[in-house]
């Protein structure tokens, strides 16, 4: 690591940790002046995922006199929901990849660069060549990985993949799975809560097991789950796994070490498990800029926000939406980030116009694919009581079915358009 060049370091950090990497170098980066000075009231949005892209679009839609600038280093939006289907070969990553043109058509200025630092007192965000000022900023940095919590992971991160941000790693993990010999062992590790997409690892287990059953019937899938039980849709996943005798599920097995040379992982009990292919989903926290800007709470991982406005409890005029938030009784899901993005946009526009923000509760629906043609769902409804989000009800579909798979397809089509505007697949 000490001998790593800056270029290697940036590359090694990957897109997910990109903001962190640049932040670490902020001291030696050029401290340029203000770029693109604002001509009217401006809302800056940091991060163009589900929450940030939605927020940018909805601020602009609500009040076109407000300038909206979105900072997102990636040129394309790749949907995490449905990306587990790329591992099983049921879907192509291209069908989950979208341009940001729909946002541009909505009047959002999209800048493909990383926010390197947020300075709440000066109301400005640093980028590589200088800084941009704002009236209010919406921070939607998603999650970053705590690589140092798994010994050996930082050094092995090019081959030991998470594929927990849809993109190049998704394609690469699918390749590793295809190349695995029949009779091989695929090890999938689930991090301790809280992490992005609670049912995601279990849907992925279904997809990998479905693929192995069809294409490599002598192979096995060992799941090492840091949690005591399946975190989400527990009974439904248990039922779905009846179709997959190739799954060896081991609860309360937290992976603390990986040795890519010996191809083995070690649990906190000291057990070692050999693998042919490993998918190590690391422990997570809010995206790096949230940590840099002191938005995270006492746990040093997640951001506490007001339940109505999504304004940070630590800094004024800074709002946080999506997976990086904590304190609301809600899952870290795409639907939730989309709902938060809209509600936060409404709040920001009301506040900028000197009006109180209306209290709007979020909602959640989350589909999981259990094979190539059936899905199931969990739904959460909420209300706002005394300024706090309170769950009214959580409901599961009675089982898995092709009907829910059709609903899942319909949901995806609708929500991708809701997040990104009219931009079709890239």
């Amino acid at each position: 690591m000490a001998r790593m060049t800056r270029r290697q370091f940036l590359k090694a950090s990957g897109t997910g940790a990109g903001a962190l990497a640049v932040t670490g170098l902020a001291g030696c980066a050029s401290m340029g002046g203000e770029i693109d000075p604002k001509s009217s009231r401006r809302v800056l949005v940091v991060g163009g995922g589900w929450g940030g892209a939605t927020a940018a679009k909805y601020v602009r839609a609500a009040d076109s006199s407000i300038e909206v600038v979105l900072l997102e280093p990636n040129r394309k939006f790749v949907s995490c929901p449905f990306s587990n289907l790329v591992l099983s070969g049921v879907r192509a990553l291209g069908s989950l990849t979208f341009s940001y043109n729909g946002l541009r058509e909505s009047g959002v200025t999209v800048r493909h660069e990383a926010a390197t630092a947020l300075e709440p007192d000066a109301r400005r965000v640093r980028v590589a060549d200088g800084y941009l000022t704002y009236d209010r900023v919406i921070v939607a940095p998603g999650v970053d990985f705590l690589l140092d919590q798994v010994e050996g992971l930082a050094a092995a991160q090019h081959t030991v993949l998470h594929a927990w941000k849809a993109g190049p790693q998704t394609t690469e993990l699918a390749k590793q799975l295809r190349a695995m010999p029949d009779g091989g062992v695929f090890v999938l590790t689930v991090p301790p809560v809280a992490y992005r997409c609670p049912p995601g690892p279990y849907e992925r287990i279904c997809q990998v097991a479905w693929y192995l059953k069809a294409k490599k019937p002598k192979s096995k899938l060992i799941v090492l789950d840091a949690n005591q039980n399946i975190v989400s849709k527990t009974a439904l996943f248990r039922a779905a796994w009846q179709a997959y005798p190739n799954i060896d599920y081991r609860a309360s097995n937290k992976v603390v070490k990986v040795d890519a040379g010996a191809r083995e992982v070690t649990t906190d009990f000291g057990d070692t498990v050999k693998y042919d292919v490993v998918n190590l989903i690391p422990p997570q926290r809010a995206g790096a800029i949230a940590v840099q800007a002191d938005l995270v709470g006492p746990d040093k991982r997640w951001c506490e926000v007001d339940h109505v406005t999504y304004e940070s409890l630590k800094h004024r005029n800074v709002h946080v939406v999506g997976d990086s938030t904590t304190g609301l009784p809600v899952p870290k899901s795409g639907t939730m980030a989309n709902a938060m993005g809209k509600i936060c946009a409404s709040s920001v526009v009301h506040l900028l116009n000197g009006r109180p923000a209306p209290p709007i509760p979020p909602l959640n629906t989350c589909y999981s694919w259990v094979n190539d043609r059936e899905a199931m769902a969990v739904v959460n409804a909420y209300k706002i009581e005394n300024g706090k989000v309170v769950q009214i009800e959580q409901k599961l579909t009675p089982g898995q079915s092709t009907l829910y798979a059709q609903h899942a397809e319909g949901w995806a089509k609708s929500i991708w358009a809701d997040v990104l505007g009219s931009g079709g697949p890239a």
Partner: protein, 202 residues
């Protein structure tokens, strides 16, 4: 217009702009903020673009309210909508019903198969009593709650016809008795054709 008059007008416009920096946008429509989260599945302004999810734009308020009541009570079965209907009730069903009723409906972009549409046209004759010759529904007639189904997505219409046929949607509702007895005599495949036909109407 003379030049001075133009200047006065410009000045007046400028003053107006200063006095009201918050131009009336969509957020000032009653119900907009409450309806915002529905768009994840039902589309912006309630114009669903998916085959499985109904279009809410232009829906008669009485029909909307009954749907919410039935979903919340579980008498209109939907794992997804049951919790959300309860959420709508806490938000205020009247305001949401009025908001969606006030949006202009855009027919589904999902194309129906032409042959199915033609078969469905012949089979749909008995439906016109309540749903109108062009699927326009009762249009506010208090004696006819039949919804406007023209341009709704075929997948959604079909799924509802199957629920009615099996008496799983709104069991015991007197106004639906006749429709359910008619549906019992129609094969499932033909119901798909009827759905295709109504989805094709504009």
């Amino acid at each position: 217009m003379s030049r001075p008059a133009g200047r006065v007008l410009l000045a007046a416009l400028a003053m107006l702009a200063l006095a009201a920096p918050a131009a009336a946008g969509p957020m000032d429509q009653p119900g907009y903020a409450k309806a915002m989260t529905c768009s994840a599945c039902h589309g912006v302004t309630g114009n669903s673009r998916s085959d499985a999810v109904p279009i809410l734009a232009g829906m008669a308020p009485a029909y909307f309210k009954k749907a919410i009541e039935d979903y919340a009570a579980g008498t209109r079965p939907s794992a997804e909508m049951e919790p959300f209907a309860k959420q709508v009730k806490t938000l205020g069903v009247e305001e949401l019903a009025a908001f969606f009723a006030g949006q202009s409906r855009e027919a589904t972009p999902v194309k129906a198969e032409r042959a199915a549409v033609e078969r469905g046209r012949l089979a749909a004759t008995p439906c016109a009593t309540c749903h109108g010759d062009a699927g326009q529904g009762g249009q506010g007639d208090p004696g006819n709650l039949g919804p406007a189904i023209a341009g709704q997505p075929a997948g959604y219409i079909r799924s509802q016809l199957l629920l009615f046929k099996a008496d799983k949607r709104s069991p015991g509702d007197e106004p639906l008795t006749k429709m359910k007895s008619i549906l019992k005599g129609i094969p499932d495949g033909t119901l798909g054709d009827v759905a295709a036909y109504y989805s094709s109407l504009r």
